[in-house]
Symmetry: C2
Subunit: 527 residues, 2 copies
């Protein structure tokens, strides 16, 4: 059995001044696992934030080469977490081994991608306007801008991706890449996992020679508020519920110095079934959609929670097959008992709603989640019924039938902000419904054609974000290389002698960066 200390990670060491109140739980059996975790006391929250602050000045100035080496070292350490680690993650989350092995590779791959971003250096956003001493009526002084890390970032891990969106997940990778030390609030659903990943990051920091407070992590309940309130923290990354994200945004905005919060919260990810596609391949779509709804017990931010089609014989036939598929699903164990409780409540709310009809799914009882299919009247959406707008986190989806294109447009306009929207259509459909694209662009972060929203590629072009309440700030993404932008801010240097400039801004371009010099992109030195 691996050693899991259950103490906080503060400034390169471990600390446990409070009580070991928290136990890790086997998600499948509900049994208590033999790992205890300390409740962080106020002094430890403070020490973690102070350690991050103390590390900031050194860490942000470490060369991009060394910062990239650190991220690569974390990736290597993650890859070396072996079978015993995977077994613990599976125990804590009830996720299958193959999924966790894949997620480990995704998480280390994400670190390596950010290492590439750091080496490449585009994120520094260098812009140079040289002096124009002879300009009339006024000369121009020399001005040089680059971007630096915003400061220590508090990261709240998500339950549903215990590796890729948690301790060493996307927010941590983006913050470290930006030069920001991190203080993690370990997720209570996978604390042993968090402990082992935390150790991996600290090992990587040690062998890369990083300052000690570059990564910190605290365990405990109710400790997030103190962390977000701490004056050393300069930004927050969060993935979780609308209620949780909203609470953090409120705390952050009421600080003496308000700070930005990037919260990825709630999305029902509408799927629009266009007529030609239903006629041509309704059977296939029903099978694929059902698979997307129940994948990972429906515990994805991008789970398709709303399916919209135009009333037709083909939609009826499709609905019958979707009913069969979702009715025949085996129950699945969820990530934790809290998640199951929320799912049961969500299903009960839908069942008790007079405007909602239950189409398929076994009675939700026992310790596992049953897949469910509901149907709602479009009027609920048009009248702004909140129940239809709120994510039910689990293997359930809601079908809405619209009368015609006008009602389809109305239904889509009535939606709140979403992470994704999907169009399923034949080429003729897509031509006819081209007008949906600009409408959906204003509602979501990612539009898919003939795909399913579960499955988020980590790359330059990905957007995992979107208008509220999908996220708290539509201008960010929490997946993909653009995620680094959330934690950077520009600083301008005016009339500096070359030797006093940071390397990124010096005439010789010693970092070999692509820079916007007098309005032209170039990698050349300035003479």
């Amino acid at each position: 059995m691996p050693i899991v200390l259950g103490q906080h990670f503060i400034g390169g060491g471990r600390s446990g001044f409070g009580q070991p109140l928290h136990k890790s739980i086997d998600a499948t059996t509900g049994e208590v696992l033999p790992y205890s975790f300390y409740q962080a006391i106020d002094a430890e929250i403070n020490a973690a934030a102070q350690a991050a602050k103390a590390a900031f000045c050194e860490f942000r100035q470490i060369s991009t080469v060394r910062r990239a080496e650190f991220l690569d070292a974390i990736a290597d350490e993650l890859d070396q977490l072996g079978d015993d680690f995977v077994a613990i993650v599976c125990q804590e989350t009830a996720l299958p081994i193959a999924r966790i092995q894949g997620e480990r590779a995704r998480t280390s791959g994400q670190m390596r991608l950010f290492a590439k971003v750091v080496r490449y250096g585009d994120f520094l956003g260098v812009r140079i306007d040289q002096s124009l001493p002879d300009r009339k009526p006024m000369p121009r002084v020399d001005l040089r801008q680059y971007r630096i890390g915003i400061g220590p970032v508090a990261v709240f891990g998500a339950s549903n991706f215990p590796l890729a969106f948690s301790t060493a997940g996307g927010d941590t990778a983006a913050a470290l890449a930006a030069g920001c030390p991190v203080v993690l609030k370990a997720h209570s659903g996978h604390m042993a996992t968090a402990d082992m990943v935390g150790c991996a990051i600290v090992r990587a920091a040690e062998r890369s020679g990083m300052p000690k407070g570059v990564f910190n992590m605290i365990f405990g309940s109710g400790v997030g508020e103190g962390l977000v309130k701490h004056p050393a923290i300069q930004a927050v990354g969060f993935t979780g519920s609308l209620a949780g994200g909203t609470a953090l945004c409120k705390i952050a905005s009421e600080r003496p110095q308000p700070i930005p919060v990037f919260a990825e919260m709630s999305s029902i990810n509408p799927v629009v079934l266009l007529p030609g596609a239903l006629a041509a391949r309704g059977v296939t779509i029903a099978r694929e959609l059902a698979a997307s709804v129940v994948m990972g017990a429906g515990q994805f931010c991008t789970n398709p929670g709303l399916v919209i089609g135009i009333r037709s014989v083909e939609l009826d036939a499709f609905t019958d097959i979707l009913k069969e598929h979702l009715g025949a699903q085996a129950p699945q164990t969820m990530l934790n008992s809290g998640g199951l409780r929320s799912y049961r409540q969500g299903v009960e709310h839908l069942l008790s709603h007079p405007g909602v009809t239950h189409l398929a799914g076994k009675t939700q009882e026992g310790k596992q989640a049953e897949a469910q299919l509901f149907k709602a009247d479009v009027s609920l959406l048009l009248n702004g019924d909140l129940l239809l707008q709120e994510e039910v986190f689990g293997p359930t989806t809601l079908l809405i039938e619209v009368a015609d294109d006008t009602e389809l447009e109305g239904a889509l306009r009535a939606l709140r902000g979403q992470l994704t929207a999907t169009l399923i259509g034949e080429p003729t459909d897509l031509k006819r419904y081209q007008w949906l694209v600009p409408l959906l662009e204003e509602k979501v972060g990612r539009i898919l054609v003939n795909g399913y929203p579960t499955g988020v590629e980590v790359c330059d072009a990905m957007v995992h974000g979107g208008p509220y309440p999908a996220t708290s700030d539509a201008r960010g993404t929490s997946v993909g290389t653009l995620a680094i932008d959330r934690f950077l801010r520009p600083v301008c240097h005016q009339n500096f002698p070359d030797a006093l400039l940071p390397k990124a801004l010096q005439n010789a371009n010693p970092l070999g960066l692509k820079r916007l010099v007098n309005g032209i992109w170039t990698s050349d030195p300035i003479f």
Copy 2:
């Protein structure tokens, strides 16, 4: 006398359902000018926001060429505002004619710069990751990202730049460039100016064929709250006081859908006088610094409000000369009586503070602002005395003497966020005090060497921003081309047929954009 209707600008027309309660004031004489302005009623606030919303979908999709033509047309209309216009601006603000003529050129120049940004197209931030169907273990789908406008933007004009930071100012230019319609809250200090500039923008919109609600403006007191609360508004740009900006941030964060606020608020812009420079050219520095303090009656966001030097005979000599200069200044008329009242209060607070000594300046009485010089004990700064951190908007500055480098470091670390910091030093100073640069980078948006912070160049590399309370979000700038970023958000298109993609993302690259394709920057089409 030019025609000044004093009605609101809504959806291309004018509206005045409320009462003409507000009068424009001659800032020099205090006399009421013959222009009346209507108080916007709730229905008009709503109509203005709705007009912006109605225009958004069309406006954001108008080609970049036509959007740039619109910005150029605004610039042309501004340039054509003649002598009678300049006379009114001067009347309303007590600013000299040459300054207003210069500011008009700066404002139209700013519009033309953003037209260039729009034509260039880099702001679209195109990133394309093509599909990798053979990738193992999972294929990659085609993903394409670009940035679109965030939605209608509410802009609050500033008093101190009635043209460059007001109706057709930097925030308006950046929002329109981003494809966001604007609703202006006209500044009460220069309403006739605002009316005439509003007419110029509407003329430009008409002859460029823009949708009618692309620009809207309302007059009145207390109407800002309703505007920021309106669900159609998606972001706010503000330049003004800390109290005003903080109030707007609070309103925006408490909306059912919170929205970002970019408020440029309060900065005291420290100037650090290094020993070698004081020895070599203390006399010159005193003269230049005094000129910067009193320029425009000290009514600049970047006015140097704090001067720090290390105790020495040279600092004493410098102080004596600075006293002479500031003591000998003629009084100046401020922008409005509210500004004069605030200035008088600020001066009184400093005079009554036991830790602050008055070094120079005539008694503050009458209708004009007297330049003032104060000196404070460094302990006030080190102990976080708020008085020293708060901007006194007017021709005053505060000197702080530190004992040595350690105390200098402590004093600078004790500062809150600033727009600018300035180092005045000889080459030997700058070498010895190189350690100040990273420290100041973490405090400010712009660091100057041997210059004065008043005077903000509009270019690619400028940052007019900085950590709180200089602004509400250190990740933005309100001057320079980077300002457009505040009003953009990314959207990703997955697995789209080429014809369904927005032009910016199509294989042929019809807009000729520089795009990040599979990790490589290129302007080539994709085959």
